[in-house]
């Protein structure tokens, strides 16, 4: 079994699980989750086999695992699709397989498997408790099997994207995930807010997807292929693309294509200005948020630009001027990182904070890529997937614990509001410690957390290559990240409980806490493979393994930045400073956020997300609805099209009438009637022959007989 063949099989188990669950096991919850988790485990196993096989290959970048088949006949040639495992794909496969499996296992407990059905539970609404011997307990999700079917399809999409060797199948996986994000964000479809969020997510990412598709088409038109190796590993192709002018905005062809593809990432990875869908996507169940916003979908956007980096950076040499696309990326990435971090500071929903945090961290990755820090961006992608998934799953655990308290006390509070929590450290210890590890990783707590190593590398690269604007922006964003993370941890777990529900919260089931523990291990250890070689003291332990491995993906291996103490110090200070500040401000916070009085109107602005949603509503949504209703529906559909059809119907009717009255009735009917009346009158005339008088008959007989006889006889005699 060659690794390439195993790679083909990786996306298939979840796809199979999707069909099996939808067709056969829908009524049986246990069977459905067994099929789904089994499929995820199978993909995980295959992924690990391929990953470790990939590790064993020297210079995987030059000899990646590839396999392709001809698929789409195009005139004289056949468009090939296939799989490719090079270093970048290998590390991505690693984190995708682990996080997907952990999320699947977590979903069993999150959907309250084994709990009784709630009396008022309807499919389409979240379950809200059942009565068990008098007191309320959590009830099982009514659409249990459907959930697992959808996340299986989601996993299929992501695996397809990761293992594909060409932009077309990557885009296929991309779009499948877009569909699944719609299905899963709107999972509780009876809630209007969920439905609206699902449409918003789909529409916003669609905007990005259109431009991405244009980029793909332009790339195919320019090079005649979409295969990664053929375009990105080919200096002549890249040079040709970089030097040909595209005619738009003074960009080269490579620059234009790169920009178009990047816009796809702006949509999918929720960068400004297409970030608006991601916070609303918190309407979906928490494992979905984990899946979409950590493990898979948003990572796919960053994965794609990392993959296409040679194209985006065509014409750039290390140390030289950034290409136009790279400049755009760095600007948008850095800006988004700071922008989202400021909003996160003023949010009170535990999941919203994490949502904006995700947007911010993705900005980090894109900014890193924009300044040419290829390996740093990939590194941060991997570590972020682990600790963000951990944080989301942890927040789901917290919400479940508080809901348990809500059911117990009958209090009607929002279980997701952090200002209703507090003191959960004692009630939910496993959740607390794993969430703490995740939060520290996010903040970049020095040395022991993975986030530190990846974030530090980005800052070091930015400083080392002289992009000081980016460096400063990212540093301030890091400070804010640490601040709001500690704010979140303090409000949720530390201090005194702010509500009775929080007092009666309890730890969640092992099916939920076990994935948290596994992910926290990675959140700590995943960073150690990326310790730079020239780091003081511990640099020699695992000398830049990640850097050496992943940099092999590119043709020209990027050099690691030289060690500089300044970015390290800045990184340490913003991390520790932010964490400390957060703790100090919030350790005695009551019902009100202390910042509200401190910042005043700025706080309101941040809380309302800079009113961007309202702006988009005014500019895009309302005019679109007005045009759809007034113009397209009322005028074109009802008057033009319907009018045409009605006219056609009237014409057909009148034609039919003409045929009937002018031809059918007079001619055809008339002919029939005429024949009948002719026969009748003929008969009436002929019957007079029958007089009943024998002598008359005899007369005729004699006449004819004798006439004939004489005719014959006289003829003979002649």
């Amino acid at each position: 079994m060659s690794p390439a063949l195993l790679t083909w099989l990786i996306p298939l188990p979840p796809l199979l699980a999707f069909f099996l669950i939808l067709l056969f096991t829908r009524r049986n919850n246990a069977l459905s989750h067994t099929v789904a988790v089994g499929a995820a485990a199978l993909s995980w196993l295959l992924g690990m086999l391929v990953f470790f096989a990939a590790l064993g290959v020297e210079h995987l970048g030059e000899q990646p695992f590839t396999s392709s088949v001809g698929w789409l006949p195009l005139g004289s040639s056949v468009f090939p699709i296939g799989v490719l495992i090079d270093p970048l794909a290998a590390v991505t496969l690693f984190f995708v397989a682990w996080t997907v499996l952990m999320i699947f296992i977590y979903s069993i407990g999150y959907n309250n498997f084994g709990q009784p059905k709630g009396e008022g539970d309807v499919p389409g609404l979240p379950p809200h408790g059942a009565k068990d011997h008098g007191h309320s307990v959590p009830s099982v999700e009514p659409m249990y099997a459907r959930f697992f079917a959808f996340i299986s399809l989601f996993a299929f999409g992501m695996f397809t994207l990761v293992v594909s060797d060409n932009l077309l199948t990557l885009f296929v996986g991309w779009e499948i995930m877009g569909l699944c994000s719609y299905l899963l964000i709107g999972f509780w479809y009876a809630k209007p807010s969920a439905r609206a969020a699902a449409v918003k997510a789909f529409m916003t990412t669609r905007v990005g997807d259109v431009f991405m598709l244009l980029g793909i088409v332009a790339l195919y038109a320019a090079t005649g292929t979409l295969n990664f190796r053929e375009i990105l590993h080919n200096p002549q192709v890249l040079d040709a693309l970089a030097t040909t002018s595209s005619g738009y905005f003074g960009l080269s062809v490579a620059g234009l294509i790169g920009l178009l593809l990047f816009i796809g990432t702006v949509g999918k990875s929720a960068q400004f200005p297409l970030h608006v869908w991601l916070p609303d996507a918190m309407e979906g169940p928490t494992p979905v948020s984990a899946m979409i916003h950590a493990a898979t979908m948003v990572s796919a956007g960053v994965y794609m630009v990392i993959r296409m980096f040679p194209l985006l950076s065509a014409g750039w040499v290390e140390g030289g001027d950034l290409t136009a696309t790279m400049t755009v990326m760095a600007a948008i990435g850095a800006f988004t990182a700071l922008f989202a971090a400021t909003i996160a500071v003023a949010q009170k929903d535990i999941k919203r904070v994490l949502a904006y945090s995700t947007i911010s961290q993705l900005g980090y990755m894109i900014a890193a890529l924009g300044i040419g820090a290829y390996v740093a961006a990939a590194f941060h992608l991997v570590t972020h997937a682990f600790f963000k998934a951990l944080l989301f799953l942890g927040s789901g655990s917290v919400i479940h614990g508080v809901e348990h308290g809500v059911l117990h006390t009958g209090e009607h509070i929002d279980p997701q509001d952090m200002f209703n929590m507090g003191g959960l450290k004692k009630k939910m210890p496993i959740t607390f410690w794993t969430f703490l590890i995740g939060g520290f990783a996010l903040s970049g707590f020095p040395l022991i957390t993975a986030g530190f190593w990846s974030k530090d590398e980005i800052l070091a690269d930015a400083f080392g290559h002289g992009h000081l604007a980016v460096f400063l922006t990212l540093a301030i964003a890091a400070l804010l990240t640490a601040f709001y993370t500690m704010r979140q941890i303090t409000l949720t777990f530390l201090g005194a409980p702010r509500s009775k529900a929080a007092e009666h919260a309890s730890e969640t089931k092992p099916s939920m806490t076990l994935p948290l523990v596994v992910l926290s291990v990675f959140a700590v250890a995943a960073g150690w493979v990326g310790i730079p070689e020239n780091f003081p003291v511990i640099g020699g332990l695992l000398p830049s393994w990640f850097h050496n491995f992943v940099s092999g993906t590119l043709l020209e291996h990027p050099e690691a930045a030289a060690f500089n103490i300044l970015p390290l110090l800045v990184s340490l200070s913003v991390a520790l400073g932010g964490l400390g500040l957060g703790y100090l401000v919030y350790r005695r916070a009551g019902e009100q956020d202390p910042l509200r009085s401190a910042l005043g109107p700025i706080y309101t602005l941040l809380e309302n997300k800079y009113y961007i949603d309202e702006l988009y509503d005014r500019i895009f949504v309302r005019p679109a609805k007005a045009i759809a209703e007034g113009f397209v529906y009322m005028f074109i559909d009802r008057q033009v099209i319907d009018g045409f059809l009605h006219a056609l119907a009237r014409a057909a009717f009148s034609l039919g009438g003409i045929f009937r009255n002018k031809f059918d009735a007079p001619v055809v009917n008339g002919f029939g009637d005429f024949t009948a009346s002719m026969t009748q009158s003929f008969g009436r005339a002929l019957r007079k022959v029958q007089t009943g008088q024998v002598q008359q008959y005899l007369l005729f007989v004699a006449l004819i007989t004798f006439g004939g006889l004489f005719y014959y006889l006289f003829g003979i005699l002649r």
């Binding site: 019957r687 007079k688 022959v689 029958q690 007089t691 009943g692 008088q693 024998v694 002598q695 005899l698 007369l699 004699a702």
Partner: protein
């Protein structure tokens, strides 16, 4: 000597009278009488031909005997019918016996 043609002429004339009687007379019995005349004409013909052309064999006379028998039978049945009709409809006029009229 009497030429054959004289006999044949006589038979023709007798037959024609008989034919006229059948076709023109109203009374049913008169019609039957006309039929008798026709049969007699036939008999004259038969015997004349026998005498003049085939007098060695008796075929002609035998045939004439058959005609006698048939004529008798036919008159018997015919008059029986006429009497039966007369009983039903009280008339023997061929004009009025026209149930088969349209």
């Amino acid at each position: 000597m009497i030429p054959l043609s004289w006999y044949l002429t006589l038979a023709a004339g007798l037959f024609s009278f008989g034919l006229y009687g059948v076709l023109a007379r109203k009374n049913a019995i008169a019609i039957l009488m006309g039929v008798e005349l026709m049969l007699n004409a036939v008999n004259i013909n038969l015997v004349a031909f026998w005498r003049y052309l085939t007098s060695d064999s008796m075929n002609g006379q035998a045939f004439a005997v058959m005609v006698f028998a048939v004529a008798a039978a036919e008159v018997a049945v015919g008059l029986a019918l006429v009497i039966s009709v007369y009983r039903r409809r009280k008339t023997v006029s061929a004009d009025e016996i026209n149930l088969m009229k349209w």
